[in-house]
């Protein structure tokens, strides 16, 4: 039995003006919480979290709610702890190429500020107008720029988290190079808010490019496309991003982004053309880099979206499997895979077929060292495990969870292995 009334009183004492009853729009994978709290600062957030933890209230941290349905449905959800008011850019140390930003700041608003000094967080996340820094970190969103600049784990250099017992702990720092203490920024990146609530982060920044050009090309078949991709990766081209797009009944296409000086761009273009031989290479609009996000447009009750990870040498094989699955199970598919091996996949079909196809593809990817995580699924498929096999490290993950969130207050049941 929840001690909700005394909890509510206590919480009101911490943040009187920022607590409201949850409405249908606050539901998380169909689970309706009771309250939504929007603390004013990280101390208030930590205090609210600690009160909830003591009262046995299940907490769902929330940023822009753009990816709130990723992961398994929560076992319990009583309180949405929103970072909406923690949206300040604390310090843009532009001469040092670092920024300290609160978790609730949107990606777009951060990038706008950084651009004033010709800089950027070298990360192209989904839905930047609404997605928050805390949210992209927690979900480890990963875009096309990762090929050149690394993942968020490689860009984050410091973090502050609120733990369920009310501790506010920082790790890392404000300098790019720093090996003092454990790298907790990496621990909470991709932890889906199950260990603590990220309240602020420090990032290393990169200069905005002087000039940029995108080129696209197609290939006759999957092996030819894979060959092109591997040839580019094995070349001395200095491309920033490289993605493959493909869908049921279409030829595979690829896009490559160069960012350089004008002289550098011209040389890269001619080298690319030489490398690809007879393939037709055309300059294209930079909007093609929205292809990953476009996969999410207008999902229906028969749409499933998944993140996959594979080795670059398995691209053709995986596309072949998708084609075979699509044909045999009457599933329409569309995929965008980065040259890093991280891809986003959209499947459309009858839920029963989707379920079988997802399982089959996951088994196949896992057998070659890859993974498949279900991010969005039709309501009928709520029981599919979002994550798949987490390997022999799962007990250690439980042990880490137990140390930081022993009462399982945060995002209970949403992560791997039942965490």
């Amino acid at each position: 039995m929840l001690k909700t009334s005394s909890f509510e009183e206590n919480l009101r004492a911490v943040a009187p003006e920022n607590l409201r009853a949850a409405t249908a729009g606050d539901a998380v994978c169909g689970v309706l919480p009771q309250f939504v709290a929007e603390p004013n600062d990280e101390q208030q957030l930590a205090a609210a979290l600690s009160l909830a933890n003591e009262a046995g209230i299940a907490v769902i941290p929330r940023g822009g709610a753009t990816k709130l349905d990723w992961g398994n449905p929560p076992k319990k959800a009583d309180l949405i702890l929103s970072t909406a008011r923690l949206n300040r850019i604390v310090e843009h140390a532009w001469a040092d190429l670092t920024v300290t930003v609160e978790a609730g700041c949107t990606l777009k608003s951060l990038q706008k500020t950084l651009a004033q000094h010709g800089q950027r967080l070298a990360f192209d996340g989904l839905w930047p107008e609404r997605a928050t820094i805390g949210g992209v970190l927690a979900t480890n969103d990963s875009g096309a720029l990762r090929l050149r600049f690394g993942a968020l784990r490689d860009l984050i250099i410091g973090v502050t988290i609120a733990l369920p017992d009310g501790t506010l702990a920082s790790s890392g720092g404000k300098v790019v190079k720093n090996v003092a203490g454990y790298d907790l920024p990496k621990l909470v990146t991709g932890a889906f808010g199950t260990l603590g609530v990220i309240t602020r982060a420090v990032f290393r920044l990169h200069p905005l490019p002087r000039a940029a050009k995108t080129f696209s090309f197609t290939a006759e078949n999957f092996p030819a496309m894979q060959q092109h991709i591997l040839a580019i990766q094995d070349s001395q081209l200095a491309h920033t991003a490289l993605q493959i797009r493909c869908a049921s009944g279409e030829l595979p296409a690829a896009d490559i982004l160069f960012e350089a000086t004008d002289a550098g761009l011209a040389a890269q273009e001619s080298q690319l053309r030489k490398l690809l031989g007879s393939a037709r290479v055309e300059q294209t609009s930079e909007t093609i880099w929205n292809a990953r996000q476009d996969l999410w447009n207008s999902p229906t009750k028969t749409t499933l979206l998944a993140k996959i990870s594979l080795l670059p040498t398995d691209i053709a094989r995986t596309l072949n499997s998708l084609k075979a699955l699509g044909d045999s199970r009457k599933i329409n598919w569309r995929i965008v895979v980065q040259a890093t091996g991280i891809g986003m996949l959209r499947l459309e079909g009858e839920p029963a077929s989707l379920s079988l196809a997802t399982e089959q593809l996951r088994t196949e990817l896992q057998s070659r060292g890859g993974t498949l995580a279900v991010l969005r699924r039709p309501p009928e498929l709520v029981s599919i495990d979002a994550w798949g096999n987490a390997g022999d490290g799962v007990s250690l993950m439980h042990a880490v969870k137990h140390q930081l969130d022993p009462k399982n207050t945060l995002n209970a049941g949403r992560f791997v292995g039942g965490i």
């Binding site: 040092d96 490689d154 920082s170 200069p207 880490v400």
Partner: protein
Amino acid sequence: MNPMEKRFLDELRTVVGARGLISSPEELHTYECDGLTNFRVMPLAVLLPSDTQQVQAIVRVCHRERIPFVARGSGTGLSGGALPVENGVVISLARMNRILEVDLPNARVVVEPGVINLDVTGRVQPHEYFYAPDPSSQSVCSIGGNVAENSGGAHCLKYGFTTTHVLGLEIVLPDGSLVHLGGKSLDMPGYDLMGVFVGSEGTLGIATKVTLRIVKRPECIRTLLAAFPGTNEAGAAVSDIIAAGMLPAAIEMMDNLAIQAAEAAVHPNYPDCGGLLLVELDGPVAEVEALMRDVDEICRKNGAWEVRLAQTDAERMLVWKGRKAAFAAMGRISPNYIVQDGVIPRTALPQVMSEIARLSEETGLRVANVFHAGDGNLHPLVLYDRRIAGQEQAAESLSYRILELCLAAGGSITGEHGVGEEKKRMMSKMFSEPDLDTMQRVRCAFDPLHLSNPTKVFPTPRLCGEKPGEYVAHPLETAGIAERY
């Protein structure tokens, strides 16, 4: 040796064989310190396993007997991370030195921890690939040690640190069990425990297999040397290069004392100046040449009186040889020296440099300065003479005061050498109690009994989740290492 110790060693001998166990005092001397030679502890024994199963078997025995262990690679660490623990054993990974797999199309290499850093590049160089992290000791240091310390090097400005290039780990946990973190593909499901393990300085277990990312060699590499009147002018040039939107592969700086030492040791033919800048750009030829012209101009604008572009690979290697030999070269100008490793926001350089000069004057001790200037990583070298009473202590105290300057400027006590034994007392100056406590809670998940390199990194070890019941003193308490709170 008491009978219990003898039984313990006999059991370990059955695991690793007679050739895999060192217990005679004469031979143990080699292992009583690492690259930080002013701390020394004699271990009970040194074990030299040749495979993962042996490492597991050793650790299981240690776990059962509650004997602490310290993993050791090549022993080149500069913060005492591989310093043995009293009444503990050292597990040397030197014999686990095979490159297990080279997968060029996916740019992955799988190695055992004892493989030498430079040998990874050596293996893939014929195919125009390289392993990017390049600590100055790269010709002798091991990948396992690099993983423990999250080693950097001059080129991490552009390419990132060891943690950027490690994709998967096989780890023997402190209870002897085996786990696999990460893998050849990216973003394996679950927490990024691999990210936590890299840089944990041997306190979370022992890596027995490491999957590395390798990088295609750029089309060209150009290295420029610029001579400035002093480090402030050189520092201003660095800021302008960064502000111009460039990301060089490396930017290194040396002050006059460091130049003198390098010149005496390996004759790199550096100009005799107050501040020397070494800027390396790599990438496509057209791009690098365009940007190098900008760098040249920026250097001259900031007062460089000589700007020199290395014309051949041999010249480039010589330029780097001088830089990489800088630490050891101090032996040419001083009987003893302490290598320090602090980080500052790059913009704080002039202020921190003038403070270091003031402290040097105040203490009468010379300080040579070598920096990874692009990322604000300072390596002040405090020169002293051990034979002069009190000088070693004064030098140590000066080196800690320099770290305090770094912290006051918003920086860190270590950029790449690690905390180890040397700097654990500085940790509470950089982090608050709750910060350190949170890190130690993570440690408790990996090593609840504190057996894996137990005395390093943290000023006060935290005890992990004691069960309620009759009070029994924890072995760390009786040893005076930990206290309850």
